[in-house]
Each structure stands twice: as C-alpha cells, then as structure tokens.
C-alpha cells in the first residue's frame, strides 16, 4: 500500500486522450441522427407573439421547427429543465425560444438563420441594485406555479441557509431570497476596534469556459427506453430531472455520462431537455451541440455580485466584527442562488466575535445563474481578503501573521453556528510563509509586488456506492456512476488497489450508465473522492473478503491468516504459501466453480465535512503606463488531506489557481445597458492563455480528514477561491492603489493609477 498511495501516476485515461481515441459526447455515430440548432432570443425581456416558420421549413433538409408547445413537457415550472424553450415570456437575451431540426447540421443552421420570431418587448431589468428597489419592474411577470422545479442546489454542496428573513426591509419582488446570519453586538464590536475598514466590491458574470461546448444526443430505443448520451456532471440527477420534466418513469430513462470535456459546475441538465424534447416530439434521434457563441449566450455562468463589506480588528490583529451585505445576481434562476453560500464564506476560515451577514438573491434579465467552481467563494474571498490586507496595512502587521492569528482550528464555531471539523488553515498559512517568495516581497523592483490571500471550501456530501469486480485475469474493474470531472477515476484506482492489494496498473475504472451503475451523486462540490472514495474502499474490502474466503479453502489457511500483497494472496509470515489473485479468481469464475465471484459492493454516507483551505502568493508587475498586469510567479499551498496521486492533486491546484487568475485579470461577461451580451465569444471574453500565466508552485499540505478515504479530502474547488484576492492584493501593493472591481483589466488599472 505504501507504494500505491501518494505516488504520481499518469491518469488512467491519458493514453486514449492523447491519441484521439476518446469518444466525447459529440463524437458517437448514431443511425438516422437529426441535428438541432437552437434559436436564441434577441430580446432580454419580451413576450413571444409568434413565429414565422415558412422560410425555415422551405430549406431542404429541415425536418421541423419546434417551439415550447411542441415539446412533450409535463411541468409548468420556469426552471431551465421544465422550460427548455421559452413558453411565452423571454427572460434573457440568449434564452432558447425554438429548435430547428434537420437532417444535417448545415441545413439546421441555414433554417435557424431564417426563422422569424415576433417579440413584444418588455422592460428589461438589468441593474441588480435598482432591481431590488420597491416598485422596480419585475424581471419575470409570469409566476412559477410549479414549486418542485429547479432542485439543482443540492448537487452543488452543502451550505446552510442561515436564519429567517429580516421582515423590516422593503424590497421588490425581484428579491427571491434573503439570508441573514447575526450573532453578537456588531456595532459595539466595531466601536471597540482599533481599525475598521469597509468597501464595496463588484464582480462580473463569469463563464465556466469548459472547452467542450454543451452537447447531448437523445434517442428512443424500440423498447421505448429513452437513451440520453450527454456531457454531464451527473447521470442520476439528469435522469431525475428529465423524468420529472417529461413525466417519464425513472426506468424508462437511461442516461449515459460520456467523457467530460470540462464542466466546472456548468453541465447540469441544460441541453438535455432540448435534445430529449425534440427526440420525443419527432421520434427520431436528435443531437444538439451548442456552438461556442450559443454556449456563451444560453447557458448558466457564475453570478455577478455586489458586496458591501466592513471588518475590524484590534491593534494586536485580533479580528472583531464583520458586516456584509451581499447582492447576488441570479439572472432568471428562481430555483436557487449562492447568496447563502457567499454570505457564509465571506467570513473565511477565521474567528469573529460578532457578525451580521446578509445575502440577497435577485432576479434580473441576464442569463440563468449556475454553478462555477466553488460557487460564491471567489467573490467572497476577494472582498474579505482585500480588506484583511487593508487591516494589516493600517495596523502595520504582517498579512500572513494577521491571518494566522485568527485562523480557525477544529472546534471553533463558525458563522454557520457549527464547529469547524478538522481544518488545515494554520498549517497552510505556515507553509506558505516559508516560501522564499514571501521573504523576497520587500526587495522587488518598482512596479512589482507580492500579494497573498487565503480561501476555503467546505466540501459536500451525498450517499454513494461502488462496485469492485475481479475478472479471471486477476484485474479489477471498479464500477461507479461518477462522471470523471477531475481525474477521480484515477484516484479510485489507487484507492481500490490499496484497499484490495493489487498493483494499481491492474485496476480499471468504468463509468456505467443509470441503467446499471451503483448510485452516486453528481460530480460537484468537491465531494466525489470524499464520498465515493470510501464506497470504493468498502467495495474493494468486500471483494477481498470473497477472495480470502476462496483462497483460505485452496490454501487451507484461515482467512485471518492471509494477506493480499501486489496481487498475491499469501500466508502472513509464510509468503511461500501463496496463490495469485488471478489463480483464485479463475477458480471462482468458471462452470462448476465452488467459490463466489470475487466481487464487492460498498456504500458510504458521510456525515462530517472536510473543508479544504488553500492560500496563495502572487507576484505581479504593473505597467504604470498601460495598466497591464503580469503575473510573474504564483504559489499555492493547499491542505488536501492526503494526496492520493500528487500529480493529479497538483493539476487541480494549478488549474484552480489559473482560473482564479482569470477571475482577477481577464474574465467578464459584459452586457450593454439593454441587457444584450457584448462578450459572447472567445474573441471578446478572455480566459488565461499559456502566454499570460506563469508557472504555479504547488505546496501540498496534508492534514488528514478523519473520515476521508485514506485521509483524502475533496480538493477541486478550494484552489480557485483565494487566487483572485491574492492577485488583487499584489496589484494593490504594486500600483499603490486598490481596485475594488474584477477583472482588473488594463483600462481599469490605468484609470485607478490616474485617480
């Protein structure tokens, strides 16, 4: 086991992926396939009067034009699964209003171009703060009558909803949710503090920018089973959502989660209802592959947010009070929002004496908000960590020491009211402090600076199960339903190998579809390794019991006196008395065999969380003439519990840090004053390129999670959280002036330098 865990290994799927052998969801051949092209609303808020379909239907190859009324939808909800095409009210520019289905992609596009939609424009709600005012126009005039709609919040991680609303505040009907968390006398705590800082922070809508656009293929088997082959983070949740939307029995829907070309929170039942609706309506296989422009305009990016934050400390650096009013632009998502998460996470992994935290989820006519890696966390950390640096400056304290002084440890009660479980905040900050870059920070050329910031992600939980099966050749197959978003399958392989006693090379991992897979939740919230991992251990252990039972009979040694090492079952203390796993398995798996198959099922239902903390150093240069910011070097330290495969862990840390640099410097989905998207392509929306990001130094910190598989935690989200703030703190030092709005584009930095 010692040489199984903690060793850097290539991903299991790497050989297929480097040779182009992997079939992504857009790649499979389906007989008789039709292609769908969505027609997207050009108005941000409007009523659909009707369609003129004549020219479209005249295009050779066009089979049908479908509007909402043509899809066999059961519900009346307004979530994107229940209403994949706008019924009558368009609530954002980019919302799909019709599908053109044709024999070829080209014909579908030719047809879609000719479809005429007649809109009656309504007042668009674009300014999220104005939208909250009593009497503001409403972003949606038709009420959601279907209460069960849009239950996707559960897949994105557990954050409690806080206390009841403060009923005294007068707000418009656009405010869909208010979350309040109060404890202690905040006013008194501010008054008794030595330094108080406050500011308003703004962050834009940010796009997940997975490189594989959203795609789904749906068809009906002759038996009547609906098969859905799709790029999704969760096969079971997609099955549930589709069954609900189209009122189908669960067992008539089979969802296949194909290899994911990136997702980051954005791939949940958005395009599936469109392809399924068309396939059901036309009784033919239908594929919908969004173009990139459609993906930008019609999917579900991270919310824009406005955060008013005030924090205070005593002269010795002890944090006292925090007060936040956080406005989350949900766009048209009535089902859930991140106001609960962001107003909890804004307190960071720190102790406070008093807090007053409020979150508001507000609807506007912009997009449908969705999850993006650590939903609500980077925006919260940007505000908090910026102000912590301001406190450190005012009090003349070292920024890392200030954070260390207040970092939570296990048992500290957080603003959620619950004690923190095992958490590595102190260990991570101490490790970061040792990096040479921190020591160099005061001896850099003019225009350069190092900034630091921390962030955390609480993790998430959902029951899960797995199956381990040993074949007659002595290799093991692990079966789960998990969509492999971040390399989790490669983690399962070493987990199973370690728990069973096989070399990891002899373990493969299969993602089965909903017809046959053991249950697991969607990939998201940094919960897969933490929740499915223990199920894999138990499944491997159950298979091992079968193995030992059979080997005990063959070797005439009690199972308790046997061990499994490197694919060999042997007597403890007498390794000569042994059989290979292959020998045992081949005796079980044959006609007339006397032993049960070497196979096990395992489940888990975690009840304790395992938060992960990551802290960053960012070394930047600010060009005072042009406002350009260059990240010269970036360091991330993260508590990962246990690095099952350090190569993959570092990959998550680097990828997360670079996405954080994207938040900091490049990314914004910008609308014009009327609510039309201006940055809806990679020509306008910048994500980090190889040229614009530096090497990322990774410092792996291991504070084992008591209930994690071999101590491992979920690690995918934490690395993005503090990165924007670290860059912002570096820019503030290098430029001598702080920016309160992301991204810190050259024009904005230039403007800040001038004022």
């Amino acid at each position: 086991m010692s040489d199984t865990l903690g060793v850097a290994r290539p991903r299991l799927d790497a050989p297929e992926k480097v040779t182009g052998a992997t079939r992504f969801a857009a790649d499979g051949y389906v007989h008789g396939l039709l292609h769908a092209r969505p027609v997207l609303a050009t108005e941000p808020h409007a009523r659909i009067r009707g369609f003129d379909t004549d020219a479209t239907l005249a295009v050779p190859g066009v089979v049908a034009v479908l509007s909402a009324a043509d899809l066999p939808l059961a519900g009346t909800g307004t979530d994107r699964t229940s209403e994949p095409l706008a019924r009558e009210e368009v609530v954002f520019a980019g919302q799909p209003v019709a599908l053109v289905v044709a024999e070829t992609e080209a014909a579908a596009e030719d047809g879609a171009e000719l479809l005429v939609v007649d809109y009656e424009p309504l007042e668009a709600v674009v300014d999220v703060e104005a939208a909250m005012e009593p009497g503001a126009a409403l972003a949606r005039t038709v009420e959601d009558s279907d209460d069960e709609g849009g239950d996707l919040e559960s897949v994105h991680g557990q954050v409690d909803k806080g206390q009841e609303d403060d009923a005294g505040e007068q707000l418009s009907g656009n405010v869909l949710d208010r979350v309040t968390r109060e404890q202690g006398d905040v006013a008194a705590a501010f008054a008794a503090s030595d330094a108080v800082v406050e500011a308003t922070f703004r962050t834009p809508w940010v796009y997940q920018a997975y490189i594989e656009p959203q795609v789904c293929t749906a068809w009906l088997e002759p038996s009547g089973t609906l098969v859905v082959s799709t790029s999704t983070q969760g096969s079971f949740v997609t099955r549930r959502e589709l069954a609900r939307a189209f009122d189908l029995p669960l067992d008539r829907v089979r969802v296949i989660a194909e290899p994911l070309g990136g997702a980051f929170g954005g791939k949940f039942a958005l395009v599936e209802p469109l392809a399924v609706g068309a396939a059901l309506a036309l009784q033919r296989p239908v594929r919908l592959v969004l173009t990139r422009s459609e993906d930008f305009a019609a999917t579900n990016p991270a919310s824009a947010q406005v955060t008013h934050l005030k924090v205070a400390a005593r002269a010795d650096g002890t944090l006292t009070a925090i007060e936040a009013r956080m406005i989350v632009d949900r766009g048209t998502n009535a089902g859930w929002g991140v106001e609960g998460a962001t107003s909890l996470l804004v307190a960071g992994p720190y102790r406070w004496q008093a807090h007053d935290l409020r979150g508001y989820g507000v609807q506007t006519n912009r997009f449908t908000f969705g999850a993006y890696r650590a939903p609500g966390a980077p925006t919260a950390a940007f505000a908090l960590e910026s102000l912590l640096d301001e406190l450190a400056r005012e009090l003349d304290l070292d920024p890392i020491e200030l954070r260390l002084k207040n970092a939570v440890v296990e048992g500290d009660v957080g603003v959620s009211g619950n004690p923190f479980p095992t958490i590595g905040a102190v260990e991570v900050l101490e490790r970061l402090r040792e990096h040479p870059l921190w020591a160099q920070r005061n001896s850099l050329p003019d225009g350069e600076a190092v900034g630091m910031a921390a962030g955390h992600w609480p993790g998430a939980m959902e029951p899960a199960s797995a199956v381990c099966r040993v074949d007659a050749d002595g290799t093991m197959t692990v079966v789960t339903s998990v969509a492999d978003m971040s390399g989790v399958n490669s983690g399962f392989a070493v987990i199973a190998a370690a728990a069973f006693g096989l070399p990891p090379e002899q373990v493969r991992v299969v993602t089965a579809d909903t017809a046959s897979a053991p249950y697991a939740g969607a990939s998201g919230g940094s919960k897969v390794t933490y929740t499915v991992g223990p199920a894999v251990i138990r499944a491997a252990e159950a298979a091992r019991e079968k193995l030992l039972a059979a080997a005990a009979q063959e070797l005439e040694i009690a199972p308790g006196d046997l061990e499994v090492v490197d694919g060999v079952v042997r007597a403890v203390g007498a390794p000569d008395r042994s059989m290979t796993v292959q020998e045992v398995a081949s005796k079980a798996l044959r006609f007339g065999g006397r032993y049960e198959p070497i196979e096990g099922h395992g489940g888990s239902a975690q009840t304790s969380g395992a938060p992960s903390v990551a802290a960053h150093l960012s070394h930047v240069r600010v060009d005072r003439q042009t406002g350009e910011v260059t990240v010269l070097r970036h360091v991330i330290a993260q508590d990962v519990g246990r690095a099952l495969n350090p190569a993959l862990v570092e990959g998550q840390m680097r990828g997360g840090a670079v996405q954080g640099i994207g938040w900091a410097l490049f990314e914004q989905l910008d609308h014009d004053e009327d609510g039309r998207l201006l940055t809806g392509s990679f020509l306008d929306y910048a994500i980090p390129t190889a040229e614009r990001v530096p090497e990322i130094d990774t410092l792996i910190v291991e504070v084992p999670a008591p209930d994690g598989p071999f101590g491992a935690k979920g690690i995918g989200e934490a690395p993005v959280v503090g990165a924007p703030a670290a860059v912002a703190n570096a820019v503030a030092r290098a430029a001598g002036t702080r920016l309160y709005e992301l991204p810190m584009t050259p024009p904005r930095v230039w403007q800040a330098l001038r004022s």
Binding site: A8, P10, R11, D13, A14, P15, E16, K17, V18, T19, G20, A21, T22, R23, F24, A26, D27, Y29, E105, A106, Q208, A209, Y210, I211, E212, P213, P259, L260, G261, G262, F264, V289, T291, R292, S293, M485, S486, G487, A647, L648, E650, G651, R654, G655, G656, A657, V658, Q659, S681, F682, L683, I687, P688, T689, A690, E691, V693, E695, I696
Partner: protein
C-alpha cells in the same frame, strides 16, 4: 452541390463528398470519422481542431475542405503508427499534460509543429506557440513541461 475532394489523410488517400462551404474539420469528423479533431469554438480561437497540413499546424475549422485537396493532413489519430505513442503523446501521458483531454489533440499537434522546427524551445517559446490553444483545466504547466521534455530529449 457536393464535389469530391481527395486528401492524403494520415498517409492514406481519402476521397469524400463535400460542399463548397464544408470546413476541413467537418470533413474529417463527419466524412472520415476522425473525431479526434474537436470543435471548441466558432471564432478560430480555441485550437481544439488543430491538425497538421503539410506538416504545419492549422485550425481545421478555418480551412475549407477544398483548400486541402491533394495535401497531406495529419490528425491526432495518425500522429503515431498503430498501437504506439508518438514521443510527444508519451510525454503528455508521463508529464501530466492533460486533464479533461478535449484540447489535447490540438495542443499535441501544435507542439508537433513547434518541435519540428528544431532545437529545444524555451518555456517562453513554448507558451508563445500555445497562444492559439485554450486549455481550461491544467493551467498549462503540465502541457509546457511535456513539450519541454520532448524538446530536451531531441
């Protein structure tokens, strides 16, 4: 109306019917079943569809199939002989040059062009050469390390 074009794809002469407007990437994917060329954008930015045309990296979404008539096209499927890995492919496996793998074929073929120009490119040169290949997962470091390793070994 469809015309027939003949391309030399991965060393084999392949004829297929295309329209005047057919893009090379669609000809490869839909016409020849070579789905290793991926479509990640519609504005010629992402590079997921990169193939080699006469040995040089090009975005197959920004070439008409007709323009490739009679020319040598190498896709990710043809970079190495059957069942083997090209040194660049092997380096990407060993140096963790990929995560989701969607951008990977295009990145590898861009690297093949860069490395074919000789020498052992610096990190700066590698990163400059990757400007037309977007990756959202890796933060690029594994990619750069993979390419650097091949360059250093040559």
């Amino acid at each position: 109306m469809p015309d027939t074009v003949t391309l030399l794809v991965n060393g084999e002469e392949r004829s297929l019917e295309v329209e005047g407007r057919t893009l090379l990437v669609h000809a490869l994917r839909d016409g020849l079943g070579l789905t290793g060329a991926h479509i990640g954008c519609d504005t010629s930015q992402c590079g997921a569809c990169t193939v080699l045309l006469d040995g040089r990296a090009v975005k197959s979404c920004t070439v008409l199939a007709h323009q490739a008539e009679g020319r040598d096209v190498t896709t990710i499927e043809g970079l190495a002989p059957d069942g083997e890995l090209h040194p660049i492919q092997r380096a990407f496996v060993e140096h963790h040059g990929l995560q989701c793998g969607f951008c990977t074929p295009g990145v590898i073929l861009t690297a093949a062009d860069l490395l074919s120009r000789g020498g052992s490119p610096s990190d700066e040169e590698i990163r400059h050469a990757l400007r037309g290949n977007l990756c959202r997962c890796t933060g690029y470091q594994g990619i750069v390390e993979s390419i650097r390793a091949v360059g250093a070994a040559s």
